[in-house]
Symmetry: D2
Subunit: 367 residues, 4 copies
């Protein structure tokens, strides 16, 4: 683990920041070198800043305890201390946009977990197995904004991960979807910490998550889009309707999907063809053997009652999308259930995979 790249975490004391710290504890390429948070925590040793607020596993990893927390508002303080930062900040959208930009302007690439820049036209929303080609826009992003080494890459919302991979694999195989109706059953960790009060979710379901349905319906189109003239242009299809629910589950988002293929694009696949497409699906992260990439991005299960969050979420160390119950749909063409680990594939570990792809593709070479 010699010559690891020093990395920083913005929002290091929050739940997502803590997860980044956990995932980096033994990372072969990246070394935790810098932690930043709100001014309230700044100046404290990290272990003190999270005292009685450490949420991930029993103990704060040793690599973090010895660091001093910096003020996340001061981008320049990070310069020279880390090659790039993971952004896990939670704040007002406009403020966060400006803050992430200040890091990029200071020459520090930002691998963001936040939604602030997801709809900025020259910021890619990256799922490494799906749209690594979108990284081509980074050059335009730097040029347009006058950034040297810095840039910003975003991650999509956790709610779409459980169906994006199956959807893309089918699209790539020549079976694009025209319309989808998706109902999600989402885990409480999706709301961060303290997040959902136990009073609201014990013996209960909440059929609403603020802003989540809009993200679920629209982000897929950007990810499936194309880079054109310095901006990412959304794909025109599929048309998606989402119903997002909160359920009493710790980790693991489930999506019940009914999907209609685009008949204009040719013959519809059989269920056997679909399963074959999903099972064989491999992509760039697998080819590059990125450390956090699962062997198989999609695993298909055949039991009638799977996937289930508690039993299947750790498949592929939490980075594999598990699909089951593939069957015909009386209204559309097919139905299936997708499962994705919302705090691994859907948040911090997905962010780490993004950074691994950026590293492997040479985007940190200027540093």
């Amino acid at each position: 683990m010699a010559n690891r790249i020093p990395v920083g975490i913005l929002g290091a004391t929050g739940m997502v920041g803590q997860r980044y710290i956990s995932h980096l504890a033994d990372h072969p390429w990246f070394e935790l070198a810098y932690v930043a948070a709100s001014p309230r925590s700044a100046g404290k040793p990290y272990a003190e800043a999270v005292e009685n607020r450490w949420l991930i596993g029993p103990d704060v990893p040793a690599a973090a305890t010895r660091l001093t927390v910096s003020d996340a508002n001061d981008a320049k303080a990070a310069a020279g201390k880390c090659a790039f930062v993971f952004s896990a900040l939670e704040m007002d959208k406009a403020l966060l946009q400006a803050l992430e930009e200040s890091y990029a302007a200071a020459g520090i690439p930002v691998v963001s977990n936040a939604s602030a820049h997801r709809w900025t036209p020259d910021v890619p929303v990256l799922i490494p197995e799906i749209n690594p080609g979108h990284l081509a826009i980074i050059e335009a992003q730097r040029r347009k904004r006058g950034w040297g080494k810095g840039f910003i890459v975003a991650k999509p919302n956790c709610s779409i991960q459980s169906y994006m991979m199956p959807l893309f694999a089918l699209t790539q195989a020549g079976f694009p979807a025209k319309r989808m109706i998706v109902t999600t059953l989402q885990a409480v960790t999706g709301a961060g910490y303290p997040g959902v009060p136990s009073f609201d979710i014990t013996d209960n379901v909440v059929p609403y998550i603020g802003g989540e349905e809009e993200k679920t319906e629209k982000e897929a189109l950007k990810i499936l889009g194309s880079v054109e003239g310095g901006a990412i242009r959304n794909a025109p299809a599929p048309l998606i309707a989402a119903h997002c629910n909160r359920v009493p589950v710790i980790d693991g988002h489930v999506a019940c999907v009914s999907l209609e293929f685009d008949a204009a694009e040719g013959a519809k696949p059989s269920l056997a063809q679909i399963e074959s497409v999903w099972t064989r699906f491999r992509a760039l992260p697998q080819e590059l053997r990125l450390p956090s990439a699962p062997d198989a991005p999609i695993v298909v299960r055949h039991e009638p009652n799977r996937p289930q969050p508690r039993r299947d979420r750790e498949t592929g160390k939490g980075m594999t999308v598990v699909v089951g119950r593939l069957r015909e749909c009386p209204v559309f063409d097919i139905r299936f259930v997708g499962l994705s680990h919302n705090t691994k594939r859907g948040a911090a570990l997905g962010g780490v995979l993004n950074a691994e792809l950026l590293k492997a593709q040479g985007f940190f070479d200027r540093l």
Copy 2:
């Protein structure tokens, strides 16, 4: 409460049977007079038969403790002891069909909670607010089978209750649905007792309930159908696709519905029109002031995050369907969330309402 009608319960020691006993404890029209169960319990005082197995509230109602359990296989034993029976038996379908028929043949009407006879063409599947007209088939049923006073009426599955009432209200108002995609989040009591193991549902969701999706897709069509020539003929629409999930909730089934209206039938309603239709919906049980009928069969909520099972399931004493989140659907026409109390409206109390309608309509008069 003088001159109450004596009633019996088949399967009185099971969870649904216990619920019937609870609901009948203070019923103004019906008096618990007969309890029957498997031969294993037969001959025991009811309180002893359910000792340490009483599941509904703290104590066995006084009206039941003094009764002796009869053998449910012996229909003749019930003759003269009760005017009709609620069937809450769980057994092989063919055996249960024959057993319910033996009661009808013995002159004892059967108000059934079971699925055994739901697809028998001359047995109505009754929701009193929706298809009271289907009771007209009882005469044909009796004639064809040579039954005098006896007959069989069934109840639909609990999973459809949360959307049938809103669907029917719209149909009746001239806005029939063409297609629907429904995802249900169903409570554990839907599986009876012992039902779902806690190991399977703690920190988990099970995206499958055996046989439930077929029932959810098809029973609506019989209920919306018409009586023709001694049989109930299914309605041709809507086409329904169902995804049924089990969630860690005690009582209350939630349905997330996307619905497409039948454009051939005329103009599509606005959201305001739909809400008006639902809010004003009243039907025969309300008109007849049946004891278990709620004032409003449908209540519409306007909070962004309602209905929720734990907070809304007792609306209208568990007999009202609570609808919320009415909004446009990007794929179909509208979306909404429906909630129904699965063990009240969806099971025993719904069965009691069926019996109340039969009583009010004179179907027990021959007795």
Copy 3:
């Protein structure tokens, strides 16, 4: 319900305040007339102040929706509008002490749910079945502080309710306890709202509740104490050790108790004697037929696995303490399990019962 006494609620928008509003909706003696909260809510119609934050049942009771929220910091604003107030405020102890005193000084009796004044020597900590005699100190309290009509009465912590009633019944019967070791399993509503994050309690137990063990060990001694010279003097026994745990339950605190009798006080009771003492226990609220008093303050169950929170908490409309598993203890003398509804007996409804006793005893007559 003519001539009901007008009452106010301080902290009316919080969870406990909302519960008071629910319990007063149909109260035969008290009429909700005044609601006060923090300055942020002041001036708003109550329904608006709790919009999307109403937590108790489906809807805000009609009696509350039409009221305007006042500033709880202004005691004089309440004068003339209500005969007394329920205090359900949550704030710094010293501030709350002063605030409750300002109401008393303004001539408005305070029936408090808060812990602020529980250790003030001349403030009674009232459980109407146990220490109604402590109300005698109100006269001294008024005199000492120069209050005319005003006074302050407190309620004990919710964690002690599940064993105080059985303990007192035995003490009164001549079987005082010398030592007790108590382990509580407490519901999440004990922490208010938002209270316990779902992340902390899903598939989990938290073996700690800040400050709870101290309250559990000490408040019993004041309640069992005696009024001497203008102060309440603690009882010298029993010695109590408490282990307080938070468990994933909505309502209902369970206590597992091992109890040693004071041999110096005479013969130890048999299990049959103890059960008889508990079953026959009646007190002043039952004698006075106070509206919120349960018929039986203690109910003894004989099933091996009861009491259970979800099944037994509503016994006596949530005001009865349910005791079970009475058996010998290999280390002390006896063991048992007690259950009390923490938000009814242990909070708002217990507060209402306190006010009912005060009314019945003439403490509001000066008004």
Copy 4:
């Protein structure tokens, strides 16, 4: 992993049997070679026998899928196929005693997870860190019963693990306990599968587990006992009173302990001394570096609200007992909270550790 010892599992299709299979999947010393279950499963490939009933993680380990299930009632069928068996059978006590004896008589040592032989005087109840010396009785056991290579070793109940290790470490350090009152909060997996119905434990606690309190009070005394004349003689102390509760937790038993030291044995330890004793505690499994032994048998936490099941149960791969909240007890001397992973340390992995000790001590050498 050459030359691994072939092992068998009795009751291989049940939940505990499945856990043994999982733990043996990559074991350095033992190789899964034989699976046996009830006659109903006998003759089937293992994967088929557990089809749709595999409960531990996503997939059946490869080592098991290729085995054919044998009839567990036929001990001779196992001869020559495995060097010893893990017994994870659930059946009538007398039958199970005879069955385990038939394996021993057939020359096959039995490492049992069951309670059948725990009170057989010449069968050790083994916790390798505590009473490895009890294995000395195996020679007497073989001689008395005329067994050659066979013998039986049992494991204690899962409920005592969370306090036995701390209790023993103190005893060994010269601070034996005189009396203890223990309240356990036990996970649902302790009841096997299907085990606790979700209806019983959702939003609920069950203050009773059949037979558990007796085991919790008595097994400690045998484990702390001594081998005398071919039998294990119980230790005379401590006197234990147990309250056992079931809580909605998947894995991890919590014990709230109040403990009184035996003053006759000398000075009582300070809290600092106790913590030092626990933290430094190491035993034979650590010395022998047994594969499943944790580095530290006891870990002490200092946060006010730990240990918690979901956060701490995997400490030491589920084999470490985590202790927290060490503090003085107003009634006895000290109080603390212990946590043990009931299905790892408390069941199958604890059984594997037992077998590792037997192997390391040469008890399988005759084979």
